[in-house]
């Protein structure tokens, strides 16, 4: 049953991406990408990734949509028909997909407890995280402690983006007039 639901969700996700590619009304594109993110979040729940699902819903369907809408507000809402036939982009995209097919076909079998990712490194997190950090959510333990440095980097990325947007969008009326 769970598999059927996940399959249906995945099919809808694929349909949403096609709709995004085809649709020229940018408002519709933004809403579709929000729907896509919600579907993704639901699939992630089915895959036990509850923290990721929560974040994807808040970020993909929430923040991203708000940002896209406010940027859209500042520009024309309709996409122009492309002038040239997009053969090269299609070739690049399909080649990438081909490499992915090639690369994923002989991955370890699904849900094989002997697969490398289940047998190596992760067992310590699952078995020891509570004893070593006193945190019941293993994802939090890995995120904030074992791999806390990645999270510092991630916070720095957010910081970089924030300061970068300030640098790009803060009005400098006097300065700009003086230069004009």
């Amino acid at each position: 049953m769970e598999g059927v639901i996940a399959g249906a969700l995945l099919t809808m996700m694929a349909a949403a991406t096609v709709a995004i590619a085809v649709q020229r009304n940018l408002f519709a594109v933004v809403i579709l990408s929000g729907i896509y993110s919600f579907l993704m979040a639901t699939v992630l729940v089915a895959l036990d990734a509850v923290d990721v699902a929560m974040t994807e819903a808040a970020v993909g369907a929430g923040i991203s949509t708000v940002l896209l809408l406010s940027a859209l507000h500042l520009s024309r809402g309709e996409e122009v028909k492309p002038l040239h036939k997009p053969l090269l982009p299609l070739a690049v995209a399909v080649a990438t997909g081909g490499a992915l097919v090639y690369g994923t076909l002989d991955l370890p079998a699904f849900s094989d407890p002997q697969a490398a990712i289940h047998a190596h490194v992760a067992p310590r997190y699952i078995e020891q995280a509570y004893r070593e950090t006193g945190v019941e959510n293993i994802v939090t333990a890995v995120l904030a402690s074992y791999r806390g440095y990645d999270t510092l980097g991630e916070t720095t990325v957010v910081f970089t983006a924030g300061v970068g947007v300030i640098a790009l969008l803060r009005r400098r009326r006097r300065a700009e007039k003086a230069r004009a």
């Binding site: 923290d51 940002l67 940027a71 004893r131 019941e136 806390g148 910081f159 300030i166």
Partner: protein
Amino acid sequence: MKDYLVLRVIAKLMIGFMLLFALYVQFHGDFGPGGGFQAGVIVAASIVLYAIIYGLDAARTVIPDRVIEALIAVGVLVFAGVGVAGLLLGGNYLDYFVLSGDPVHGQHRGIFWVEAGVLITVFAVMLKVFYLFASRGREADAE
């Protein structure tokens, strides 16, 4: 939307609940899904809601730009500062074990402050980005 009384009242209530929920997400991250990043997003969303209902200027008086810009930096400093504290107490960088006499308690303490740092920066950046986009839009409308 400043003239709709119903919206204004409901929004005020909602914002209270949202902040409460954010606190839950922040501190429940040890036991269930959640953590600094998600909580920061929710806090920012509550202020965004306030700005939508009461206007950007009202939101900017509640949390001025200068304060937000400072908070953006403070969050990173808190996080990176936890790492420096580990160094000063004789451990490696980001070593939480040395933050307290009891290693597991030290871990707890480290994770608490690290998540606080994430919350502050994420909240401030999200809100600042919204302010900047929204004020840019208002000027575009005026032209």
